[in-house]
């Protein structure tokens, strides 16, 4: 088990390194750097001004050196300006003595995630704050999505082919066919617009960042939850339907156990192994939903930050965002694998 986890962690770090390098490469292409320089300076900069700005900020070093600096395995570079030194490891102009007193390495290994050019603040502070906001959103999504999906799936799967099953399965298919930007738009139009006259909820969730209430938070939570609910429900249904045909269920039924007890005491425990994996693997999907919903409802969390960072070519912030999302994806995969082994003793990782 330990070997398995260590190997997976190794693969995880390798994946994260490769992915951040890809992001690094794409954001450091010259047209992107030019865009960055122009958004930071002004849009009428000449090519020479762009080049000198980029040199001063350390963007014109070789790609591998820059990547090493970001990681913290290559010392940061400094440049001699007119009134002192500028460099990749500090902001603004400083004297030679001040620079000499500073640490030479400044990468994520030293805990320095860089500086966001879009928000003009340290990346680590931004990420912590935004992740917190998205965490609240995800908590409510999970609280809504998991129980409703499991109930739907168990109800549909306990009598396969019945009318309840058909109806619930159609509902489940419909929700999986509805991407967040469609369900969000429909929900806002119906429940939050003046045209239909039902102004039950708020169409934006901006106020929910300070003070989440049912009225400003339910629509975004429902929008994200809907897309995942159908999928988990279908998986639960398939698993439940399979368990219900098992020998021990038939035995219990022949002994005269009540149907309710069969479902609750005998079938449910075995039927819930498969959905557990599916729920864990839903996290990467939810990440997409979070980006769309946070943009649609103007809730300034992690997904909104991703959009802001990407559309402004904010290199440090974008890298941090990708590191976080990659680790979320890979960690949930690892947890689902380990959890599966614990839940299902027939399977072993070795």
């Amino acid at each position: 088990m330990i070997v398995f986890i260590l190997r997976r962690l190794g693969v995880m770090i390798l994946t994260a390194l490769c992915l951040t390098f890809v992001v690094f490469f794409l954001t450091n292409l010259y047209p992107n750097l030019e865009k960055l320089a122009k958004t930071q300076g002004n849009f009428r900069m000449t090519d020479e001004q762009v080049a000198s700005y980029l040199r001063k900020e350390g963007h014109l070093e070789p790609l591998l050196v820059k990547y090493g600096q970001w990681l913290g395995v290559v010392p940061g570079t400094t440049y001699q300006g007119e009134d002192g030194l500028t460099g990749t490891c500090f902001r603004g102009t400083q004297s030679a003595e001040q620079v000499a007193a500073r640490p030479r390495f400044c990468g994520i290994l030293q805990g320095d995630w860089g500086f966001s050019t879009r928000f003009r603040a340290p990346v680590s502070a931004i990420i912590a704050e935004r992740l917190g906001l998205t965490g609240i959103l995800m908590f409510w999504v999970m609280l809504l999505m998991v129980p409703s999906a499991l109930i739907l799936g168990v109800l549909a799967g306990m009598r396969e082919g019945s009318r309840t099953d058909r109806a619930l399965s159609t509902v489940a298919i419909t929700t999986t066919a509805t991407p967040e930007y469609v369900s969000g738009v429909v929900l806002i139009a119906v429940f939050a617009s003046s045209a239909f006259g039902l102004r039950w909820f708020n169409g934006t969730a901006t106020s929910a960042m300070e003070n989440p209430t049912f009225w400003n938070f339910f629509l975004p939570v429902l929008t994200i939850a809907l897309y995942g609910t159908g999928y988990i429900a279908r998986m639960t249904r398939a698993s439940m339907a399979e368990v219900m045909t098992a020998q021990y269920i038939r035995t219990a039924r022949l002994k005269g156990v009540r149907f309710r007890d069969i479902v609750l005491k005998h079938a449910l425990r075995n039927a819930l192994i498969a959905p557990f994996t599916v729920i864990m693997l839903q996290f990467p999907w939810l990440l997409n939903g979070v980006v769309i919903v946070e943009t649609l409802f103007n809730y300034k969390g992690f997904g909104w930050t991703l959009v802001q960072a990407a559309s402004n070519n904010d290199i440090d912030l974008l890298l941090a965002v990708s590191v976080v999302s990659v680790f979320v994806v890979l960690l949930t995969q690892l947890i689902s694998d380990i959890g599966y082994v614990y839940l299902n003793p027939r399977i072993s990782v070795t």
Binding site: L29, Y181, V307
Partner: protein, 394 residues
């Protein structure tokens, strides 16, 4: 003229779709009449769910082809703006602020006008054509890439499998939207990276088809030579035109901003197809008929393409339907974030994105494209469900 009420709007929309109804009726009539001779496709008409899905999908296919390519259903030019029609509610008579309405123009905006005074109904119909142009082809390309790499990975296993699976997982670990934001920007198009990616991805269909024919006919040299030559000439001609925009005859070309969308969608879909094909191959390669083919002395690629692949077709066809739906969702996502396609384009994602800004006051411009996308994807999912049920039956 007066505002139409909802009943009249509904009747007029039904009337506009008459060509589609005729096409649907013909398709269903012919298919049901010949359903015993049509294999899996015919069996689809035994399952109500499959039929409902098929009807929804074909509705949008016909709408796309007849409305987009033949200009039949649309009532107004999708780009024509009329300042007098800005945000007007459904059923408003068509007027113009400057100039007079042209003779014979359709007298109403059936589903109202958007914030630039364009006809929402026509844009929704034209949006179907935007999807039809990209989604099926992108999905086919993704399948060819996934199959060409997944078969050897599953069949040979070992080092090859490890490397390819790692690469596939790498792409899958990327949040899709981040990938789109990194790939589908004018800056990236300027660097030429999409062209290189297209050059790598689009060579796979050619390789796939050539290998397919070579392994089948290599004992009949003449036949083989003719087939492979035809495939190579047409394949490489299209390849040069689409990927490199260097068609020697100057007929085939691909707009760069569409190419980047196409590449991004294929790139996101191919790893999932790869994983499915790899899994199926690992399962099927242990069967007796594969061992029999090996004993006959067949080559590995013959076994992969002509023994394993045909026997994996059931799950692959089902996944193909689901994946077109997913590709449609991805295209909508691109439009929703304003990436790739031009902002004027009538595709559903862009229209939803534009409509959402005034959603709480004027919901009518955003709802039709949203519901259109929903019904198309729902149709594809139902179709996949019907196919799965019918293919499991025998």
């Amino acid at each position: 003229m007066e505002l139409l009420d909802w009943g009249e709007i509904f009747m007029r929309i039904l009337a506009r779709f008459i060509p589609v109804w005729i096409a649907l009726a013909v398709t269903f009539g012919l298919s049901i009449a010949g359903k015993r001779r049509l294999g899996l496709y015919g069996k689809l008409f035994d399952s109500p769910i499959g039929m409902a899905g098929f009807a929804l999908v074909m509705f949008w296919v016909f709408t796309g082809i007849l409305g987009g390519a033949f200009d039949m259903i649309v009532t107004h030019d999708v780009l024509a703006q009329s300042a007098a029609m800005k945000n007007e509610v459904p059923g408003t008579p068509y007027t113009k602020m400057i100039g007079t309405v042209a003779e014979g123009a359709y007298p109403y905006y059936l589903l109202g006008g958007d914030n630039l005074g364009r006809d929402v109904f026509s844009r929704m119909v034209a949006g179907a054509w935007e999807v039809m142009k990209i989604a099926p082809f992108a999905t086919i390309f993704a399948f060819m890439v996934g199959i060409t790499l997944g078969l050897p990975a599953g069949y040979y296993g070992r080092r090859l499998d490890t490397i390819l699976s790692f690469l596939a997982n790498l792409i899958l670990a990327f949040p899709v939207i981040l990938l789109f934001y990194l790939l589908v920007t004018p800056e990236i198009v300027a660097t030429g990276i999409p062209v290189y990616m297209a050059a790598v991805l689009f060579i796979f269909p050619v390789i796939f088809l050539v290998t397919l024919l070579q392994t089948r006919f290599f004992t009949q040299t003449l036949k083989r030579n003719i087939y492979v030559a035809i495939t190579l000439v047409i394949g490489l001609w299209l390849y040069l035109g689409i990927a490199w925009d260097a068609d020697p005859l100057g007929i085939v070309s691909f707009p760069p901003n569409l190419l980047v969308v196409f590449v991004a969608v294929v790139f996101v879909n191919a790893p999932t197809v790869f994983r499915i094909v790899r899994g199926l191959t690992m399962d099927i390669k242990t069967r007796d008929y594969v061992a029999a083919a090996k004993t006959r002395g067949e080559g590995p690629w013959y076994i992969m393409l002509w023994e394993i692949l045909p026997n994996a077709r059931g799950p692959l066809i089902v996944d193909f339907c689901l994946r077109i739906g997913y590709t449609t969702i991805l295209l909508g996502t691109l439009g929703f974030f304003g990436l790739g396609l031009s902002p004027e384009s009538p595709d559903w994602g862009s229209t939803i994105n534009e409509g959402r800004k005034l959603l709480s006051i004027y919901p009518h411009p955003a709802l039709p494209p949203a519901l259109a996308l929903l019904t198309l994807v729902l149709g594809l999912n139902l179709l996949a469900d019907g196919l799965r049920e019918e293919s499991l039956r025998d």
